[in-house]
């Protein structure tokens, strides 16, 4: 993947996005097992993700990527660094 010209924009984690916001995965970190599971579900660098909504108690969050909706806890979403889209 080529570096994106987004150096001026601040990199954030997926958990920090506002509902309705879109972003692109930059880097996923964590234990090998967790990392692998996330990657297999499509959280690979360069993937476009939309944060659809937050659950009534603020956590977990609903994401849309690759045409599928996933629910993921913010503690896991915090390991996914994103660039604003």
């Amino acid at each position: 993947m080529t570096p994106r010209g987004t150096a001026c924009k601040k990199t954030r984690t997926l958990a920090e996005l506002a509902p309705g916001a879109r972003a692109v995965v930059r880097k996923v970190s964590g234990e090998p097992e967790l990392l692998r599971r996330l990657m297999e579900l499509g959280f690979v660098p360069g993937t476009q993700i939309t944060l659809v909504r937050r659950a009534p108690m603020g956590d977990p969050i609903e994401l849309r990527l690759r045409g599928t909706h996933f629910s993921i806890r913010t503690s896991e979403a915090d390991r996914i660094d994103v660039d604003p889209d």
């Binding site: 993947m1 880097k27 996923v28 970190s29 234990e31 090998p32 097992e33 967790l34 990392l35 692998r36 599971r37 996330l38 990657m39 297999e40 579900l41 499509g42 690979v44 660098p45 993937t47 659809v52 909504r53 659950a55 009534p56 108690m57 603020g58 956590d59 977990p60 609903e62 690759r66 045409g67 599928t68 909706h69 996933f70 629910s71 993921i72 806890r73 896991e76």
Partner: protein, 759 residues
């Protein structure tokens, strides 16, 4: 994670030496077709459509994973065996379910031969995410037929999928179908009948370190043996990436290969820390390309789903709707199932009355009526609740609401270390732990599921209510507290809260000890909303109820008969003269009746009932159960219980509410229930013959109720936990843990109360 720099196109060669098994061997058994696919792809609906009612459910050996198999007749009349594999996103296993899927597809699963054909089900409405499994499956190099499911829905949603292009890309037949309407099934059956060659793996990039390691391992694999029919490259990738050290796949290769795999893994870990992500990155690159060419979205994203979700997961309406729905489920388990359960109860006793007189009076009649028929009744009584709960759960699951419910409840359940999926099983357990424990199947994480199973029996079930009602009615004065609360009601409320608190504490403790482990990844798909298929829902209900009767029912029946024996034998010598007197009284009463002396006949009958109750009391007090009650008296005396309560505790193992009728029998009251005034009076005024003091105090009643909240006294729960965990270890652990907890808590209540001068 850094980006792999050295990318090379890898097109693993198709399987070498495919299907070397001699033809004669193949003819010996039916062709085996494994159905694979992601969760929510409509796999089970298709399986039901293909097999109809010709299916059976069992467990894979040694694990709790369900093995669903059936038979399907193809167009030309040949019959194949069909295996419905658990839904999975990837062939790299992370859970017992996924280990089974991989093992079956690689032919290393014990008791399941390598499938002759894999039927991959893909949901055309969200193809991209599912192509990951497809890429891996095709790479194995075994014949594959792709069923492109929900093509009609995809068209409605404005998604065009080019099946012909996918067919060319995979080198495997791709058949558009609709599991819902059944369209395309004929073509699918035809495709399954044809000889399908190995597919053509999709060309994809793979970073050099992993590719070279896989090539090294592939070169070492033996040319004969269990894995010989598969692509060597794929087997090598599976060995490297599946993390196993001594699992079924590693055991299927020679020692030298195993050593090499472990060495390569640690070398890669040291040199290229992100090597495990090479496969997903490579696959998704290829998938993105394929999706660009094969699918076309002509309409924007489904707005229907957005509108429904905006209400069902709304900050306020979401939880309100969820609670309302839970109230309906709870109501159905408590109230709607009750008439059915009463009808079953009535039917069972009618059957006993019908069959009883046909058998000679004595042990045989007693065994059939009080042992076997009552035992069958104990099993069948659970069926209405199980059916109701699974009706709702499968409706929720198939419509897509179950995932939203878990989404809403996750934050709350996380405070006890569980996920949102644990809520419904636990709530159902307030009606009965049996359906609740069975409902834990919707929890995908094994440790969470076990924790939920082990804490479910702490929820005060409906069988405890009669016990609470009897003891509260007999010992808790009906007065108001703080001016507006009613003391009996408050006590009842506290008993429910105590059960919940115990569950929270035990869950917390289990998650830190026996069921500790790496924090699982809670990723859950929120599937699109679909109208559930009635057929699928009813099949699930039938499966669940049938499995309960078959697997847990046999244990319950056996224990019922053992309990009957313990309560009926040995026969007491005192009983003989009483029985003689009973016959005489009955004779006199019927003679009086014949002479038309109504009053005398009625008096005779009353005396007969009195005698019958006395006989029952004497027999029970002197039976094995009665002796066991005395035997355990020293152990329960510190809790305030005498041997008569000991008998009731032992007999309540049949079902908790049996405690009430046992107490009635012990006190020569026959079959009184919890509302019986005479039974309450008897308990209040019972005296200890040795000291002349009152046997029971309100403090003892509280201690006994606390015991009933916490103790595992229900053989049906034990049987169903044995079935659901596929082991005796967990149910035994549960019985020991719960009963120890109950003893300690009752001891604290009784002795603490006495110290405070409450006894």
């Amino acid at each position: 994670m850094s980006i792999p720099t050295d990318l090379a196109a890898v097109a693993p060669s198709p399987a070498e030496g495919l299907d070397r098994r001699p033809e004669t061997h193949r003819r010996l058994r039916r062709k085996l077709v494994a159905i694979a696919g992601g969760p929510n792809c409509g796999k089970s609906t298709l399986f039901n459509k293909l097999t109809g009612l010709r299916q059976k459910v069992a467990n894979y050996p040694g694990v709790t994973v369900e093995k669903k198999a059936g038979f399907c007749t193809l167009t030309r009349g040949s019959t194949v065996e069909v295996l419905d594999l658990p839904g999975t996103y990837s062939l790299r296993p992370g859970s017992p379910d996924e280990v089974v899927v991989r093992d079956v597809l690689l032919g290393v699963q014990a008791d399941t031969p390598l499938p002759d054909l894999t039927l991959l089900v893909l949901d055309a409405t969200c193809l991209e995410r599912q192509l990951y499994l497809c890429m891996q499956l095709i790479e194995i190099g075994r014949p594959v037929v792709v069923a492109l499911n929900m093509m009609d829905t995809a068209e409605e949603e404005g998604i065009h999928v080019d099946a012909a292009l996918l067919e060319r890309a995979f080198g495997a037949p791709v058949v558009p179908i609709s599991g819902r309407t059944g369209s395309g099934l004929r073509e699918l059956r035809e495709a399954m009948e044809q000889e399908v060659g190995p597919p053509r793996p999709v060309t994809r990039a793979l970073a050099a370190p992993l590719r070279e390691a896989a090539e090294t391992v592939a070169g070492m694999l033996p040319t004969a043996g269990p894995l010989a029919g598969l692509s060597r490259f794929h087997v090598a990738m599976a060995l490297l990436l599946d993390e196993g050290e001594d699992d079924s796949l590693m055991r299927a290769v020679p020692h030298a290969v195993r050593r090499e795999v472990l060495a390569l893994r640690s070398r890669l870990d040291a040199e290229v820390p992100e090597w495990r992500s090479h496969e997903p990155i490579g696959h998704y690159r290829a998938i993105e390309d394929l999706i660009r060419r094969a699918t076309l979205r002509v309409k924007p994203e489904d707005s229907m789903r957005q509108r429904i979700d905006r209400v069902l997961t709304h900050r306020v309406f979401g939880p309100v709707i969820f609670i309302a729905f839970m109230a309906v489920i709870f109501q159905s388990l408590f109230m709607w199932a009750t008439p059915l359960m009463n009808a079953i109860d009535f039917g069972v006793s009618a059957l006993g009355r019908f069959i009883g007189p046909a058998l000679p009076a004595g042990p045989i009649r007693s065994l059939v009526v009080d042992g076997a028929i009552a035992g069958v009744g104990a099993v069948v009584t659970f069926v209405p609740q199980i059916a109701f709960l699974f009706l709702f759960i499968s409706l929720m699951e198939d419509s897509g609401y179950l995932a939203r419910a878990a989404f809403i409840m996750d934050r709350l359940m996380r405070s006890v270390g569980l996920s949102g999926r644990a809520f419904i099983p636990l709530l159902s357990s307030f009606a009965c732990a049996i359906p609740g424990i069975m409902a834990t199947r919707t929890i995908d994480n094994r440790r969470d599921r076990l924790t939920t199973i082990l804490i479910a029996p702490f929820m005060s079930c409906s069988a405890r209510l009669p016990v609470y009602a009897l003891l509260i009615g007999a010992f808790i004065p009906n007065r108001s507290v703080l001016g507006f609360l009613n003391l009996p009601g408050l006590v009842l409320f506290c008993l429910y809260v105590l059960g919940i608190l115990a569950a929270v504490v035990v869950a917390w403790a289990l998650k830190r000890t026996a069921l500790r482990g790496a924090r699982p990844l809670y990723v859950m798909e929120l599937p699109p909303y679909r109208v559930p298929s009635l057929r699928s829902v009813l099949l699930t209900v039938r499966d669940r109820a049938g499995l309960f009767v078959q697997k847990a029912g046999t244990v319950i029946l056996a224990v019922s008969i053992v309990l009957w024996f313990l309560a009926s034998y040995p026969k007491n010598a005192e009983v003989k003269p009483l029985e003689k007197e009973l016959r005489k009284v009955e004779q006199t009463a019927s003679e009086a009746q014949a002479r038309g002396q109504r009053a005398e006949a009625a008096a005779g009958r009353a005396q007969a009932v009195h005698l019958e109750n006395e006989i029952a009391g004497v027999s029970l007090r002197d039976s094995f159960a009665g002796r066991a009650g005395r035997l355990i008296e020293p152990a329960i005396a510190p809790l305030g219980f005498d041997w008569k309560i000991g008998i009731a505790l032992l007999s309540s193992f049949a079902a908790r509410e049996v405690m009430v009728s046992t107490m009635a029998t012990v006190y020569n009251l026959g079959d009184a229930d919890q509302t019986s005034v005479s039974l309450r009076e008897k308990l209040r005024h019972a005296e200890d013959p040795r000291t002349g003091e009152r046997s029971y105090s309100p403090l003892m009643a509280v201690s006994l109720m606390v015991f009933f909240v916490l103790a595992c006294q229900c053989m049906s729960t034990v049987a169903v936990v044995r079935r659901e965990t596929n082991s005796w270890g967990w149910p035994i652990f549960m019985v020991v843990m719960m009963n120890a907890l109950a003893w300690i808590a009752s001891f604290a209540v009784f002795q603490g109360g006495r110290m405070l001068g409450l006894g």
